[in-house]
Amino acid sequence: MVNTNQQKIKNFLINNGVIIVMFVLVIYTGFTSDNFFTPNNLMNILMNMSSRLVIALGIAGCVITAGCDLSAGRMIGFGGCIAGTLLQRMDYSNKFFPDMQPLNVFLVVLIVMGICAAFGTVTGFFIAFLNVPPFIATLAMMEIIYGICMIYTGATPLGGYVKEYTDVAGGKFIGINFLIWIAIFVAIISWFIFNMTRHGKYMYAIGGNPQAAEVAGVPVKKTLILIYMKAAAMYGLAGFMLGAKAGGASVMLGYGYEMEAIAACTIGGVSVTGGRGKVSSAVIGVAVFELLKVALQYMGVDANAQYIAIGIVIFVAISLDIRKYIAKK
């Protein structure tokens, strides 16, 4: 029995290694610095996590089908910019549409998500019907979106948002910022889609074995298009959220976030080989990532050296993760 217990402990450590290291790091930082465990700081971390989680949940769908989405970062910038142009104050001197009244915030969310979803559908079409590998298809869309966004905004940064928009980040409900509520809402919807709908189950089936999915009568093409469409809508939403928090946006908004989101997903346990991953994986991955960044800041690690630390964490986390599946074979 001792042996099996040891085995169990070993397995537990391998399966949860990253999370354990994270806890140790957070607790250490918390006790060595004075203002880490303050409500204000925690709320700030959660605010940062919220948009990242929305991106990660979007990308998780693509990764579960053994794909990826490189267009996420540019899509976020595009979404942020569209939202920005539609929600500027009338008295702002550099207003993008000088004569247009700012639109309703909810309407803008829908517009942003709708436009992004349309582009995501195009990506999905190329992946599903023309068999373009997701890596390439989303790379192409990344370039296109960046170009469109540059042309649309004329590469000028946006600012002077109406209060209703910045309140999306600053406003609170039961003491918690709206941004965080949005992330919670998106997580719940995603959980529902992943577990309670055919679409979610088909997503896992396609990731697990695309040939078997075809034989089992899974509508593979339709499902793939829906996944990239849904993901793009979520990137748009994330862009909207980031714009609200920053009070401004530019084409560079969200640049490189797709890589961090993919890394976060895999750290949390979404397998890049497909078929595995939960909503909780994305939540854990994003939490690990953001906590790591903050903890490193608090420990006074040089900002550039932080990149190195993050890289090492990805190496270690994924090596451990892969071990899990190899052991199961």
Binding site: N195, R198, V215, P219
Partner: protein, 502 residues
């Protein structure tokens, strides 16, 4: 010189649950072509893989020129001068002929401390070896642009270039045209005259007559005997290959085939070498067997009906109505189910649970409010099938990859039972599963037939084919060559005769 170039003695090899080779021997006279024959699953390929070091044999000895040798991997086999032309060619189609020929042993030249590939030598040598097998295409040509037959001659050239003294041909002609087969035989004749010893695995009687000097026949993993080819008639060979009594492991059945449910008319594949002009009928409550040898295109035909493969022409009728099938979903909606042959490749979802594997095809039946999955009802159905088919698993949440082959197959059967098709196509339903599970699958099949469902079963196991089927169609090289029912004599020899027609 030893009497035999190569001699295998007392070879035994077991796989989990199966004894694949039991005390098998093979003796090759120098400079001859030795045909190795037997039904599918008789152990021919396994024996050759043991010789070539792909499998590790449990017992037995290999003598080369009278001296005992050990072969632990293909590399060692090649060093002993043994080469193999595989049934499934394994080249790198995107690279040149020369690169394929020299893969893993590129000629190099030194540039100080650097070793670089000597392309000039490689191309020149390749050209020389290609001439050796009477081929004269460009060594720089991309391999993928060649025909299967030409690719095969590259493989043979490779064997020759390695100074192979023994060359194994594992069903080389299964995908060749007549002209290519004749070209292959000329190369073999030439090699024979140069003293190369060859093993030739094939099912095709006319080829054996044409090329072989000696014949060794295997059956069920055992050695039957060796004879000079000239002394054996085709009938004698078939009799020796099948010569076993049917043991009654098949459950009693009382199927009463009813009306025609499925009718296939002149179905042809988009590929010329695949099934052509196939017509057949299937009745309610019938188990219809499809016999034939490997490569007879039975799987392709069924996958064509299920809309996985392209159809060039032909019609499919179900309940007298013409079907338009463009996607497996269409076939399923029409009431057709398919259990594929390659369980791992396109059957199971290895990283998903038993529950997900059973329910993946039937989510549409278990919805609340039109879109929310009703997990309670799904669980009940999955639980039922685990009970009913006695699937051995700790829980329905277990990953299917952790189950044995037989239990995996039962999960796939459960999937189709849940979707309740009128016609269920089962492609090699008992391949790679143990005897107990086999019997259970047979009982499920009979049960379905009794309920009035119609079953098509592809089986390469002769006794299963004859024991389970109410009627048997035999295919050979993409064509339907015969129909045998119980009124006509349903015997192994008859099936074999149809299966080796071309």
């Amino acid at each position: 010189m030893a009497e035999y170039k190569l001699k295998l003695e007392g070879i035994c090899k077991s796989f989990p649950g199966v004894k694949a080779l039991d005390n098998v021997q093979l003796s090759l006279r120098p400079g001859t072509v030795h045909a190795l024959m037997g039904e599918n699953g008789a152990g021919k390929s396994t024996l050759m893989k043991c010789l070539f070091g792909i499998y590790k044999m449990d017992a037995g000895e290999i003598y080369l020129d009278g001296e005992k040798i050990k072969v632990n991997n293909p590399d060692e086999a090649m060093k002993h001068g043994i080469a193999m032309v595989h049934q499934e060619l394994q080249p790198v189609p995107a690279r040149s002929v020369a690169e394929n020929l020299y893969l893993g042993r590129f000629p190099v030249k030194r540039f100080g401390p650097l070793q670089v590939i000597d392309h000039k030598t490689m191309y020149e040598e390749t050209e020389k070896w290609l001439k050796e097998v009477k081929m004269d295409f460009d060594p720089k040509a991309q391999l993928g642009t060649l025909s299967i037959g030409q690719m095969q001659s590259v493989e043979i050239a490779k064997a020759v270039s390695q100074q192979a003294k023994v060359v194994i041909f594992d069903e080389p002609t299964s995908s060749l045209s007549d002209n290519e087969v004749e070209a292959l035989f000329r190369i073999m004749d030439d090699l024979r005259s140069k003293g190369v010893t060859m093993v030739y695995i094939s099912h095709k009687m006319d080829e054996i007559k044409r090329i072989a000097d000696d014949i060794t026949i295997m059956r069920d993993g055992t050695y039957v005997g060796t004879w000079p080819a000239a002394e054996m008639t085709t009938d004698q060979i078939i009799a020796k290959m099948v010569g076993r009594e049917l043991t009654n492991v098949y459950p009693e059945k009382e199927n009463k085939p009813g009306d025609v449910i499925l009718e296939v008319k002149h179905l042809s594949s988009i590929h010329e070498k695949s099934f052509q002009d196939v017509s057949f009928t299937l009745r309610k409550g019938e188990i219809l067997g499809f016999g034939g040898l490997v490569g007879a295109q039975r799987t392709e035909l069924m996958e064509g009906i299920f809309a996985i493969r392209g159809i060039a022409s032909g019609e499919i009728f179900m309940h007298g109505k013409k079907l338009k099938l463009r996607h497996p979903v269409d076939a399923m909606n029409a009431g057709i189910g398919l259990i594929t042959e390659d369980r791992r490749g396109n059957g199971i979802f290895g990283c998903l649970s038993i529950k997900d594997n059973v329910s993946v095809s039937v989510y549409n039946k278990f919805l609340r409010a039109g879109f929310i999955l009703d997990h309670k009802r799904i669980n009940r159905v999955v639980d039922d099938s685990i009970q009913k088919l006695s699937i051995k698993t700790p829980s329905m949440k277990e990953h299917i990859a952790n189950l044995s082959g037989g239990n995996q197959q039962k999960v796939i059967v459960s999937r189709w039972l849940a979707s309740d098709p009128d016609v269920l196509i089962m492609d090699e339903p008992t391949r790679g599963i143990d005897v107990g599970a086999k019997h259970e699958i047979y009982e499920i099949m009979n049960d379905l037939a009794k309920q009035g469902k119609a079953i098509i079963m592809i089986s390469s196991e002769m006794s299963e084919l004859l024991g389970m089927s109410d009627r048997v169609y035999v295919m050979c090289n993409g064509k339907l060559t015969g129909e045998i029912d119980q009124t006509k004599d349903m015997t192994q020899a008859n099936v074999m005769a149809y299966a080796t027609q071309f």
